[in-house]
Amino acid sequence: MTFVPKPKLSHPELPKNRLGLTRRDYEGAVSTLCAGCGHDSISAAIIRAFFELDLPPHRIAKLSGIGCSSKTPTYFLGRAHGFNSVHGRMPAVATGANLANRDLVYIGVSGDGDSASIGLGQFAHAMRRDVNMVYIVENNGVYGLTKGQFSATADVGAKSKRGVTNTESSIDLAAMALVLGASFVARSFSGDKAQLVPLIKAAVLHRGAAFIDCISPCVAFNNHAGSTKSYDYVREHNEAVDQLDVIVGREEITADYAPGTVETVVLHDGSALRLHKLAPDYNVHDRVAALAHIQDRERAGEIATGLLYVGPESKDLHENLNTVAAPLASLADAELCPGRAALETLNAALR
């Protein structure tokens, strides 16, 4: 299982974005995951989202922990630097990276083992610090690389492929993110690209920690009858609260919608999220109501998806730390070293 470079072939008529790049320019190496893995669909959605946002691939940093999901940054954005770090520790590494250079776009990919078990603490603290990043958990309810053990997001009563029933209550990372103060919380399904791509785009444009819990069936170990993370089960129980359009920059809003069914959320850079409400009376700005809705749907055996919460204009970690506008990594000697004279003054005060 070594690295497989992808052959460089592209059709001359492939559509180009505003940077003159095609979708191929946003791809990575050939995936080594199982055929049909939900994670590959998420990688494809990430590729499409960044392509459509016209972002230069090399200005994105992609980070991950350990596990099947954490392998995926190799499979998208080949021109971006990537960092496959330590199991459960992506949030800290991403936080440090973000502190060093606030000008890059950060996408962290994690899994349910990575974020809900070994890295639950780091997940929590990245949310509460509001690190400006997209944080995607590719949630399949099992440990894939070690062959099918339950993860902490497996539902009570879910059956493993070997027939074992899970008895420990599950951790809902989206609900946790809400409680922890994340300023953007969404849930999606790897099988619903129409929902997922705009959510990723919105998460990239949002300033602060943007969390997406993306259910992503494991075809090898968790796609059987009795699983609550299988393609069939999620398709049957998916209940979206809204459908999103992302309008970048000053793009004109052309379509008309019936009043009350569409809400426009303007972001800090002037981009807008156009929300088509699917659940009547759902208020995407109400953290408490979002939590109640998620739990209410869960009790009914359904999975609430879509953009669940977006906070008012959030302050990210850099604003809270009041750091300079230039990336800290770019500061030169003169800006960092107080020099000899300051030291002499200090020496005098220490006598």
Partner: protein, 629 residues
């Protein structure tokens, strides 16, 4: 009081004053005032805080060694005890050297039998004076501390003017506080002068032995080193005795790192959720081109192991200040030890080796603190600055801090846009010039060139994932090559030959090899130097080598080869430096003799003298309590 055969001590500029206090009583600033007044009189004084893991109520001690001869190590004797804590009275009083002095609060009578018979007892009713003078409880407590300093000024002939000036400097602009403190100082002094024949046999006489040295602690000096070294990201988790390092960094950054036009910060400090996160943030920041560090102690090092291994294998710079304390486990969290050498040198699983620096005092904490960032960038690997509680948390006299304004950060091998466009091939782990160090790029540098994937898994020299044996071995061998390169870059050992001998100052090799030598490092320095003087008087000549870094240079091994017997003096149970030397240098273990002090108190020259004298068998063993100058 004293038996006729016991003489009261007569010592000038060479004695130990120990203050026994209650934690949280505000004694620290009064005690510090005393030390600084002695220093202002030109007499070296070295204080040590002995404190419990507690906020309020438990006993705490402050021990000041006054030594015109510039002996900065802990002495071990107590010549004057200032007994302000009834809880520890019996134990404290028993430590006083026969003929020594006891200053105590005589407000309440001490039952006969609890006063020592072989020391001079000096009573001043501090509490009574305070109760008469002040009504508020906190004032009574705080001014009692200043009052005993006033008493000491009379007893020891300590210049009142210096005390007054220091109080003036400390409370500059707050005239009321100055007046109140001076009043308390004079109350204590006046009462003492009236009731006790002053000065006593212990005296401080103005001298010129301090020079231009400064008085600071190693944690502050390290933090300042990090500021000068260009660190912009600090991630840390509170742990004694390293906490004050991170806090000092915050303080210095607030002074030196604020953008004047905007008031915004040229630094980011994050108090992480734990040490796993703090090292993760350091690695993430350094990967992305910032200079980053963490400060921690042994338990934190244990938690960081996995990520340290990642940084070693993926070759990411990181600076870790390890302010060591007594382990294992929680151990003695407020006591000193050099117990983390092996857990840092070989931190993490698999085959790893890490660069360690061993500063001997605050001056070197500053130097090595700054240099660590250059080393980490040059070598693209974690660098540990190995302090301990003794150096980190105690203020001491140290050479003034100096900086060359022509110095620039050495960011090591980093490819720029131009370099990427003109070079033939970029391979993240490609050793192009044989030093084991490959070129790296920062994320976001170039639209088409130089991106790579950083991973903890095995990879080939172009950073591509592989589990094949050959590229794995090639990579591991390159890492060894890089570690050999590190030997050229890290601080060299300091050799000092026994005075009557001549020869090469580097290795100690000469026509007739000296029989004996001692190797030591870090906070052992002042005790070792003093011990050598004492041993020389007893006819035991020692060549000394102070190791300042790991990996060891050849001259360390040459030095050992040039001597028949080498004492390795350190502050841990398992002779960790000795193990490291044996492991790295294929040295005959029989040649390296362990001298180990690890009870949590700083090593004394007396301990070293006794241990070496016992080993050599040639000298009279100096009795414990009467030893010393």
């Amino acid at each position: 009081m004293m038996p006729a055969d016991c003489q009261a001590l007569e010592r000038c500029n060479d004695f130990v004053v120990k203050f026994a206090n209650v934690n949280g009583s505000g004694s620290a600033s009064a005690n510090r005032l005393f030390t600084r007044a002695v220093l202002r009189m030109g007499v070296p004084a070295t204080p040590r805080n002995v404190f419990p893991s507690n906020i309020e109520g438990l006993p705490t001690w402050y021990e000041v060694r006054i030594s015109e001869a510039n002996h900065l190590a802990r002495h071990g004797d107590v010549h004057l005890l200032v007994a302000m804590n009834p809880q520890t009275w019996d134990k404290d009083v028993a430590e006083i050297t026969p003929g020594g002095y006891l200053l105590y609060d005589s407000t309440r009578p001490i039952p006969p039998g609890r006063l020592p018979c072989d020391v001079v007892v000096l009573g001043v009713p501090f509490t009574a004076i305070c109760n008469r003078e002040y009504t508020e409880a906190r004032q009574r407590q705080l001014f009692k501390n200043i009052m005993y300093i006033g008493a000491l000024s009379a007893l020891l002939d300590l210049d009142l003017g210096e005390l007054e000036r220091l109080i003036g400097e400390q409370f500059k602009g707050r005239e009321k506080l100055i007046a109140a403190n001076l009043h308390a100082l004079n109350l204590g002094r006046a009462h003492t002068l009236e009731t006790i024949a002053c000065p006593i046999g212990l005296r401080i006489r103005r001298a010129d032995a301090v020079g231009d040295r400064v008085f600071m602690d190693g944690n502050s000096a390290s933090a300042l080193g990090a500021v000068y070294g260009g660190a912009t990201v600090a991630a840390w988790y509170p742990i004694t005795p390293s906490t004050s390092l991170a806090e000092a960094f915050q303080r210095y950054c607030a002074r030196y790192r604020v953008e004047p036009e905007t008031g915004r910060h040229r630094y980011a400090i994050v108090q992480a959720e734990d040490e796993l996160a703090s090292i993760g943030m350091v690695v993430g920041a350094a990967w992305n081109g910032a200079r980053a560090f963490t400060a921690t102690s042994g338990p934190g090092i244990s938690l960081m192991q996995e990520t340290i291994g990642l940084a070693y294998f993926a070759e990411i710079p990181a600076v870790i200040f390890d302010v060591q304390r007594a382990g294992p486990s929680t151990g003695m969290p407020t006591r000193t030890q050099q117990g983390d050498l092996l857990s840092c040198a070989y931190a993490s699983h698999g085959d790893t080796r890490h660069v360690l620096l061993f500063p001997e005092d605050p001056h070197e904490c500053f130097l090595f603190g700054a240099a660590a960032f250059d080393l980490a960038d040059r070598l693209q690997t974690p660098v540990f600055v190995m302090l301990d509680l003794e150096i980190g948390m105690n203020e001491r006299l140290t050479a003034p801090l100096a900086w060359d304004d022509a110095r620039r950060m050495d960011r090591g091998k980093v490819m720029t846009v131009q370099a990427l466009e003109t070079s033939l091939d970029f391979g993240r782990y490609l050793d192009v010039d044989g030093d084991g160090i490959a070129w790296r790029t920062y994320p976001g540098t170039h639209p088409q060139l130089g991106s790579f994937f950083t991973r903890g898994t095995s990879k080939n020299d172009h950073a591509r994932y592989t589990e094949e044996g050959a590229p794995y071995v090639e990579n591991m061998e390159r890492l060894l090559r890089k570690f050999r390169t590190a030997r050229r870059l890290v601080p060299r050992p300091v050799v000092s030959l026994a005075p009557h001998q001549t020869g090469s100052p580097r290795t100690g090799s000469r026509g007739v090899p000296s029989r004996r030598a001692a190797i030591y490092y870090g906070s052992t320095s002042p005790a070792m130097q003093e011990a050598r003087e004492v041993l020389a008087k007893d006819g035991i000549a020692l060549d000394l080598m102070r190791i300042r870094a790991y990996p060891f240079q050849d001259e360390v091994m040459d030095f050992i080869a040039a001597h028949e017997q080498v004492f390795v003096v350190e502050q841990n149970r398992d002779a960790q430096m000795r193990s490291l030397l044996i492991n790295e240098g294929d040295i005959d273990p029989a040649k390296l003799c362990r001298i180990l002090s690890y009870d949590g108190t700083p090593i004394t020259s007396r301990f070293i003298v006794r241990a070496i004298a016992e080993e050599t068998g040639g000298s009279e063993v100096v009795p414990l309590r009467k030893a010393g100058p």
